[in-house]
């Protein structure tokens, strides 16, 4: 008697402990004999209910369960993946030709050609400059296009010509930022920058013009000059720096710079060597200058856009 009872209880417990996946089975049955199943809404594009009535308070514990699960699984998975990658990658790297090995396949006729004839063919002692502007000039064109592209997309994100187009939420955030700014300019910074900026520009010019014959070139020079401009703007403030650089001038410089580059390079390519051969030896300097202009504008533009959202 008791035994049977206990057996029954155990059975009950079992059933309670292991509930069978009700909805899937029911759905299947309904599907087969054709009555409206639970997941019918999926077929009829009805919006999920739970989205409608949920008052959201961000809280780890209350966060969507499957989201948490996803992140947990994600962490484990990525860690394992990285570990695997580490080992494989390290192994591969260890089997490569060792560091500074003269017999490595990378030291083939290509660098030899660049080094021996580069100067004669391009007129630049700095072989790296020679390479990036003539031998592999197309990559560099693409590279400066990347800069230009990045600047354009940052403008697309952050440029504010007038406050009217800004959403209220964002406007509040901006006012907060404005409140944080110091009201008065720091005297020392202002004076020092007034003294330093010309020298920085001078140095930038030197690096720019020396790019053919010594380490340097358009990219580094542009970075240096933009550092000078950024310092100036930071010291005297956006309004005052209008004198040095306003939006029109900014647009003109970066457009003209990149245009010069693209056009020159295009001409050079379309001439296909031949008489272009003579051209290339004189091509590096103007292209270098153009790149310098582009880089300078880009860096400065980044700073300006990030700080105030206007140029």
């Amino acid at each position: 008697m008791d035994k049977r009872k206990s057996a029954k209880n155990r059975k009950k417990k079992k059933t309670r402990l292991l509930p069978r996946p009700a909805h899937t089975k029911a759905a299947f049955v309904e599907w087969v004999d054709g009555d409206r199943p639970a997941h019918l809404s999926a077929a009829l594009h009805e919006p999920r209910e739970l989205r409608k009535r949920k008052v959201f308070v961000f809280d780890e514990s209350k966060m969507g369960q499957q989201l948490i699960k996803f992140f947990r699984r994600y962490h484990v998975a990525t860690t394992l993946m990285c570990a695997l990658l580490l080992f494989v990658f390290a192994w591969v790297v260890l089997t490569l030709p060792s560091f500074g090995d003269p017999a490595a396949p990378t030291n083939n006729m290509v660098p030899a050609e660049y080094l021996t004839h580069g100067t004669a063919e391009t007129g630049a002692e700095n072989v790296v400059t020679a390479m990036i502007f003539t031998y592999r000039g197309f990559d560099t064109l693409g590279e400066s296009c990347v800069l230009f592209l990045a600047l354009s997309s940052v403008m697309m994100l952050l440029l504010r010509r007038d406050m009217s187009s800004v959403k209220p939420k964002e406007r509040i955030a901006l006012q907060k930022d404005a409140a944080k700014e110091p009201k008065t300019r720091n005297f020392i910074v202002t004076v020092m920058s007034r003294i330093l900026v010309p020298f920085i520009f001078l140095y930038g010019l030197y690096v720019l013009l020396g790019g053919e014959s010594s380490p340097g070139g358009g990219f580094s020079a542009g970075a240096i000059m933009s550092a000078g401009m950024i310092l100036y703007r930071h010291a005297v403030g956006a309004e005052a720096s209008e004198r040095l650089m306003n939006e029109r001038l900014f647009t003109v410089i970066r457009t003209v710079g990149l245009c010069i580059y693209a056009v020159l390079f295009g001409v050079y390519i379309l001439l296909q060597g031949g008489e272009g051969g003579a051209l290339t030896s004189h091509l590096i300097m103007p292209i270098d200058i153009a790149v310098g202009m582009v880089v300078m504008c880009t860096m400065y533009g980044f700073y300006a856009l990030f700080t105030k959202g206007e140029i």
Partner: protein, 128 residues
């Protein structure tokens, strides 16, 4: 064992680059805060550039700025300039990309007041 250590020493830069790369990767994938993700991405790129640059070096040779009259022996005197050029390109690219992603993060922060990817995913889920 010695030989293994020897190999390690020979490939010191490459190994460093590997470790850095994986560190950057983990940051990019696992950090919750977006700026940290960007930093992770930068570490990753730096690792790649380190590897690439270390490929170019040749024992006991000089930087590839060809001095007067050394042109014909240049191939033995100077290191391989190709990786340097590639690294230069790569650096510029990574600068632009990080600028873009930072701008994006700034915008998102102004939109939602948060830069935590989990929270953002949830906030976005709540929309539509």
């Amino acid at each position: 064992m010695m030989s293994f250590l020897n190999t390690l020493v020979q490939h010191r830069y490459a190994i460093t680059a590997t470790i850095l790369f994986v560190v950057g990767l983990m940051n990019l994938m696992q950090q919750r805060y977006l700026v940290r993700k960007v930093i992770g991405f930068n570490i990753m790129d730096a690792a790649i550039f380190l590897l690439l640059a270390s490929r170019g070096y040749v024992e006991g040779r000089m930087a590839p700025v060809v001095a007067e009259g050394t042109a014909e022996r240049a191939a033995e005197l100077y290191i391989n300039p190709v990786p340097a050029g590639l690294v230069l390109t790569g650096i510029v690219v990574s600068v632009s990309v990080s600028a873009f992603s930072l701008a994006l993060i700034q915008k998102i922060y102004r939109e939602y007041g948060s830069s935590d990817i989990k929270e953002l995913v949830h906030l976005v889920k709540r929309e539509d």
